[in-house]
């Protein structure tokens, strides 16, 4: 049965070519077999990451009918979104909420968007970040300063944009909806021989939801007029020699909401112009060592017009109303280098960074005397340093950090990280991070985590002046937080993934106003549970749900933080009807909201807000997608708890979208 082959007389060289060709085929096959799909890479990474991570991908974003980053964040356990009285929406994390969300670090492809150095935070500029260019949003709840430095305090939100190969063509989309909302988006992605390009332009114009207020701070009734215009452009260029360029430009203009003094008006206007440019290079030294370097420059310009009180208020002398104009420019420049060493069972990431921050050109005009509030009759310029609302300021910091990811066994990952930041104004701060992720068995993963983080005082908290109510304090220290977390992930039931996360955070040196001056005082503790479930049905249909219990408490007063709900929940069904239609419906539950002890009003009751989005693809024309969304389907009346009055949330509203890819 065997064949005897005599090759003795055949020179080996004659055989070399066909056999070499076969080896090439074999090597090609072997290389192909190393493929890991990106979704699994991300899932594997989440499984082993010592952090509470939620990932919302483009598919879910598309189907749920989200229009902005905030629409995406509202479905994440532990996160909440609420209105403020001025142009900014607030992101709360585990019951901790501030005006400018400065305790949350928002990144765009790893680049910090927290460029408003006066107030801190990025939500005032990027909360309405368009979703069309988002590939996924990674949300890490808990501290992340050990790698990311300042502001990664209660959460880190990393927006990952689509790369050239994800787009692979041109996509044009338009949306029209309630409140005269119109959105246009152009997304382009192309891979050339030596470089990739991905770009996006988005323009949004909306009158916004005009909320009715029965009794404002001065007894008036009326409607808000929260108009908003936004232009966002994003560019990513990558050369195959390792160099890349990223740039983003964002221009927003927002109209009046409830007023800076909670007095309705129609004059407030907040303009913000922000951009950044980042040039980087990835150098793969060998299979084990990679060196990443980047330099960047960020700019943020704010130009605000405030009608603090309307005509005739707070006294009759203000015939044109109490008016102020404020503006400022922030600049950030930095350099960072990062070495990644990957070995068989460990990875070490070590980096050095240096950044300069600058607050300059503050402008202040008012028709009152800033220090006393006495009327002046007309707007006067107080931009002189002696009378301005804030001092010009410079800040520099450098940081060194290192993180070890060590897998002593295949089922165990240990994480140890430390970062030291040194600021020229308040000194140095260490932030460690420890974690263990243990795959107990095929179906269960247990994580134990500990992390510390800091929030640098903002320039307003340090250098505000000539303000009768808010005076800066140059001696402020950063706020610090220590967080313990334990999470269990289970997938023992077919197609069902479940996780439970317990957290306990203690915030020290909270910066708040004592009398009229910013001061480090007090401690706050927040603890609770986050539970998530996802049941995959079939053909892309699924049910997802989450529940959060949170109890943020002021340790000095022993009182629960105000204007938060202890219980929040979310449930969604994505139903893939057939090859053309998809229906996504969801409901968000917000429990009864807390009041301050001095507030005797009845608390805001619990509410359930439902949305539905019907998507049709390739219905009449190939590569054409149509989408129709109804938000607050049952026109539920709900409010964001606040003083002196609660902020009504939008009633039933609609949005229609048409997009074409070629």
């Amino acid at each position: 049965m065997f064949r005897k082959i005599v090759w003795l007389s055949v020179p080996v060289t004659m055989l070399a070519n066909p056999f070499n060709a076969t080896l090439e085929d074999e090597v090609s096959w072997l290389k192909d077999e190393t493929f890991v799909i990106s979704a699994s890479k991300v899932q594997e990474s989440i499984k082993k990451t010592s952090a509470s991570v939620t990932i919302i991908d483009e598919d879910m974003i598309d189907k749920m009918g989200a229009n902005t980053l905030l629409d995406v964040l509202r479905v994440v356990p532990g996160l909440g979104v609420s209105q403020s009285n001025v142009y900014v929406d607030k992101i709360s994390v585990r019951g901790i909420e501030t005006w400018f969300s400065e305790k949350v670090l928002i990144l765009l492809d790893g680049h910090s968007l927290n460029s408003d150095l006066l107030n801190g935070g990025a939500s005032n500029t990027y909360a309405n970040f368009p979703v069309e260019q988002i590939k996924r949003v990674e949300i890490i709840r808990g501290p992340a300063s050990a790698l990311y430095g300042e502001n990664a305090f209660t959460a880190l939100i990393n927006i990952i944009t689509k790369e050239a190969q994800d787009v692979n063509g041109v996509q044009i989309s338009t949306k029209v909806g309630s409140y005269n909302t119109a959105i246009a988006n152009l997304l382009v992605g192309k891979t050339y021989e030596n470089f990739d390009i991905a770009a996006n332009i988005n323009y949004r114009d909306s009158d916004g939801y005009s909320a009715y207020v029965a009794n404002d701070a001065i007894g008036n009734s009326g409607h808000t007029s929260p108009t908003s215009k936004r232009l966002n452009t994003n560019l990513s260029l990558k050369h195959n020699n390792g160099f890349y360029l990223k740039a983003n430009y964002n221009n927003t203009e927002d109209g009046p909401r409830y007023g800076i003094a909670h007095a309705l008006n129609n004059e407030d206007k907040a303009k913000r112009e922000a951009y950044f440019i980042e040039l980087g290079h990835q150098y793969k030294i060998n299979d084990n060592y990679t060196l990443d370097s980047r330099v960047y420059h960020d700019s943020f310009i704010a130009d605000n017009r405030w009608e603090i009180y309307p005509e005739g208020f707070p006294t009759g002398a203000y015939t044109d109303g109490m008016l102020a104009i404020s503006g400022y420019t922030n600049k950030k420049s930095g350099i960072e280098t990062l070495l990644t060493v990957k070995k068989e069972n460990y990875t070490v990431v070590s980096g050095l960074s240096y950044e300069t921050q600058r607050l300059k050109d503050p402008i202040y005009k008012a028709n009152y005397i800033p220090s006393s509030g006495a009327p002046l009759g007309a707007l006067q310029d107080f931009s002189d340093p002696s009378t301005n609302f804030v001092s010009e300021a410079n800040r520099k910091f450098w940081a060194a950090y290192s993180e070890l990811l060590y897998d002593p066994r295949e089922d165990l990952r240990l994480t140890v990280g430390i970062r030291y930041d040194h600021y020229n104004d308040f000194g140095g701060v260490f932030n460690p991070r420890l974690g263990a992720a243990w795959e107990v068995n095929e179906h269960n993963t247990l994580k134990l985590m500990y992390g510390e983080a800091f929030r640098a005082p903002t320039f307003a908290e340090l250098y505000n002046k000539n303000n009768p109510a808010l005076v800066g304090n140059p001696d402020l220290n950063p706020e610090t937080v220590q967080t313990f977390e334990m999470s269990l992930h289970n997938n023992s039931i077919e197609n069902l993934e479940a996780s439970l996360n317990l957290f306990h955070s203690t915030i020290d040196d909270i910066i708040s106003v004592l009398g009229t001056t910013y001061t480090n005082r007090g401690t706050m503790t927040t603890r609770g549970i986050e539970a998530e479930l996802k049941q995959h049905l079939h053909r892309g249909s699924y049910i997802t749900a989450n529940y959060t219990y949170q109890q943020p408490k002021n340790d000095d007063t022993r009182k629960i933080a105000e204007n938060i709900s202890r219980h929040e929940g979310y449930v969604a069904l994505n139903y893939r009807i057939n090859t053309v239609f998809n229906l996504y419906t969801d409901a968000k539950y917000i429990g009864k909201q807390t009041r301050s002890t001095a507030d005797t009003r009845v608390p805001v009751e619990s509410s359930i807000t439902s949305n539905a989005t019907l998507l049709a693809k390739d219905l009449f024309l190939k590569d054409v997608q149509m989408k129709f969304s109804i938000y607050n389907l049952f026109d539920e009346k709900s409010y964001d708890s606040n003083a002196p009055y609660d902020y009504p949330q939008a009633g039933r509203s609609y949005m229609a979208e048409l997009s074409y890819k070629f």
């Binding site: 979704a39 060998n286 299979d287 068989e344 053909r539 892309g540």
Partner: protein
């Protein structure tokens, strides 16, 4: 007549099943062979999805649109997408290196790329009776294959000396292993078989150390492999077709049914290794 009726009924029952063959990469000969042999044997119509240049989004849409009852995933990429998006379906696989490294699905069937390690070891012991230790370079891609080898080797009194390699694998690191072992076994591992120069170096070192090399593919004969024990890949496509047609009568995961055993007598003589006279009845090919 009864047989014809049975076959007709069987084919009719298959008509209810929507079968999708997913080819990971149509530029890979091994995958194409599997598709070709499957299509020659499978008795019912089926659809083919070539995902070579498709994005994740396109593959996802295609799988949901098609939503087959049965999937034949050829290669790791095809299997992972089927596992990711339609894990509730019957998934058959082949041509995957060390299939145990990939996540499982409830209804998982397939033909392993590797031959039964016990069978290979018995064959080695039969042909080269002096072999007591076998050196095996492997990586994290082939950990399970190595574990099987170690387990089966112990049972027949052979010692496996393994060396784990990573992306920065330097073939010089195998010299000690060659000196310590009676033979070296090359398994299908992407970090070991990574290019021509690595393979040339390994075989040159083996010659210097007068150690035979046992390999998993005929192509290694030209480099001087003394013994090749390889799976007959076209057979695998036919094997999968048979498994889908009659899933109740088979093991969920099978070893390749066809085996080629090539003895390079010329090379073995050069090295001076003794081989058994059983060689004539065992080998499918002998190189003189």
């Amino acid at each position: 007549m009864k047989l014809l009726l049975l076959i007709s009924l069987f084919i009719l029952s298959l008509h209810g099943q929507n079968v999708l063959v997913i080819n990971s990469n149509s530029n890979i000969i091994k995958y194409n062979e599997a598709v070709e042999e499957f299509s020659k044997t499978f008795p019912s119509p089926f659809k083919t999805l070539d995902i070579t240049d498709k994005s994740s989004k396109e593959i996802k849409k295609a799988l949901y649109d098609e939503y087959p009852d049965v999937v034949y995933a050829i290669g790791a990429k095809a299997y992972q997408y089927a596992h990711e998006y339609i894990p509730e379906k019957e998934i058959y696989f082949s041509s995957i290196i060390d299939w145990k490294r990939l996540p499982t699905v409830p209804k998982q069937y397939g033909v392993s790329n590797e031959l039964h390690s016990g069978m290979q070891l018995i064959l080695i012991k039969t042909l080269f009776s002096d072999v007591k230790t076998i050196g095996v370079p492997y990586s994290h891609y082939t950990q399970n294959t190595l574990n099987d080898l170690i387990k089966n080797a112990k049972e027949i009194g052979i010692e496996i000396k393994a060396i784990k390699v990573d992306e920065a694998f330097d073939p010089h690191s195998l010299n000690n292993l060659l000196q310590e072992c009676d033979t070296m076994m090359i398994i299908a591992d992407p970090l070991v078989v990574k290019n021509n120069s690595v393979i040339e170096y390994v075989f040159a070192s083996a010659k210097i150390n007068k150690k035979p090399i046992i390999a998993y593919h005929e192509l290694f004969i030209q480099y001087g492999a003394a013994l090749v024990i390889s799976a007959d890949h076209p057979t695998i496509g036919r094997q999968i077709a048979a498994m889908i047609v009659d899933p109740d009568k088979t093991e969920n995961i099978q070893y390749p049914a066809g085996t080629n055993i090539i003895v390079n007598k010329k090379e073995a003589k050069k090295i001076g290794i003794k081989f058994s006279p059983d060689i004539l009845s065992t080998a499918t090919e002998i190189i003189e």
